[in-house]
Symmetry: C2
Subunit: 200 residues, 2 copies
């Protein structure tokens, strides 16, 4: 096989959920594109990775020193939603149900992967809160073991702010999911945090 094709397939196959077969299909597709098209793809990826910056306030990716969300005067600056990664901000923004600011940890505490609290942007969060403008911190972190560890660690760090409201997002049955397929812990959470609908 051509070494050039082999190299292209090898690199593409490193992408998540892209196997050798898909990589080959993608490479052969690129063969049918103009060289300028392929160069545009390559440049967009390299520039994105190389020039991407992180908001000095919330650690979200940003083209400027401070990201558009943190700069937006219409956002509620008294609420901060803490998330694991950039993709979570995009997911929450898509709901159009949240108007506060964000704080991107840049990962989650995972002893297995050697990621400790100091690898995450937790000090920056504490500094931001210390400035006094923030009244509520919403912890929007996955319901995994690592997520719960991270949650617990952050709560301990925030215990120094007695007037700060700390919340975490609800655990329960996902919309569209059947109870019979939910695990016991989820059902237990969903029962425990049941919502009063008497006056609905």
């Amino acid at each position: 096989m051509s070494k050039l094709l082999n190299d292209a397939v090898g690199e593409l196959a490193k992408l998540p959920s892209v196997g050798k077969r898909t990589a080959l299909r993608l490479a052969l597709h690129l063969l049918g594109e103009e060289p300028e098209e392929v160069a545009a793809l390559a440049e967009a990826l390299v520039r994105f990775r190389k020039e991407v910056r992180y908001c000095s306030r919330c650690n979200n990716i940003s083209d400027d020193e401070v990201c558009p969300i943190c700069q937006d005067p219409r956002r509620d600056r008294s609420t901060v939603c803490v998330v694991e990664q950039v993709g979570d901000v995009l997911s929450i923004e898509k709901t159009q149900q949240y108007n506060g600011l964000y704080h991107v940890l840049g990962g989650i505490i995972s002893p297995m992967q050697g990621i400790g609290p100091s690898d995450l942007k937790i000090d920056l969060l504490v500094d931001n809160i210390a400035r006094g403008e923030i009244k509520e911190v919403i912890l929007a972190i996955g319901a995994t073991v690592e997520g719960e560890t991270t949650l617990f660690y952050i709560m301990r760090r925030l215990a120094q702010f007695p007037d700060l409201r700390i919340t975490k997002i609800a655990r329960g049955i996902g919309v569209g999911d059947e109870i019979e397929y939910a695990n016991e812990l989820t059902i237990a959470h969903a029962l425990h945090n049941r919502i009063d609908v008497s006056r609905d």
Copy 2:
């Protein structure tokens, strides 16, 4: 959203069977990679598209003037398997059942897409055969309307070689497929080209 991220997602989403969601997931994955890793991916794609060459004999992709298959002295030079595209060569090679040479047309006759016989490497095939070494041409072209048109056109062009054996790959029920799901034409072909197993 960050313009850099937007550009990367937009370019990735142009790839076949990569939607906006997958493109975003791939881009955010690249964010977690070292810049050198991303540069290596980009360079492999650009180099592949820019520097790829086609074998002057069989039109397969090649790093050299003549591809490794055409150069290989152990291959049977009297048989040529005609295929639509580079990927077909790889598929057939993987079976390890074929030891002849190939000829890559580089497409298929498709009036709908404005691809005529002159857009394909058919003259090169005729020239190769005219040299006299080739005894059999196997037409390994898809069983579509375009494929049949291409087959018919090539057969007409090869009629000038009275001693040349021309074959096409068998149409029939795919291995692992059930008869009840095969279409009528496939079943008709499979019946018509039935194989004598009396002496098996």
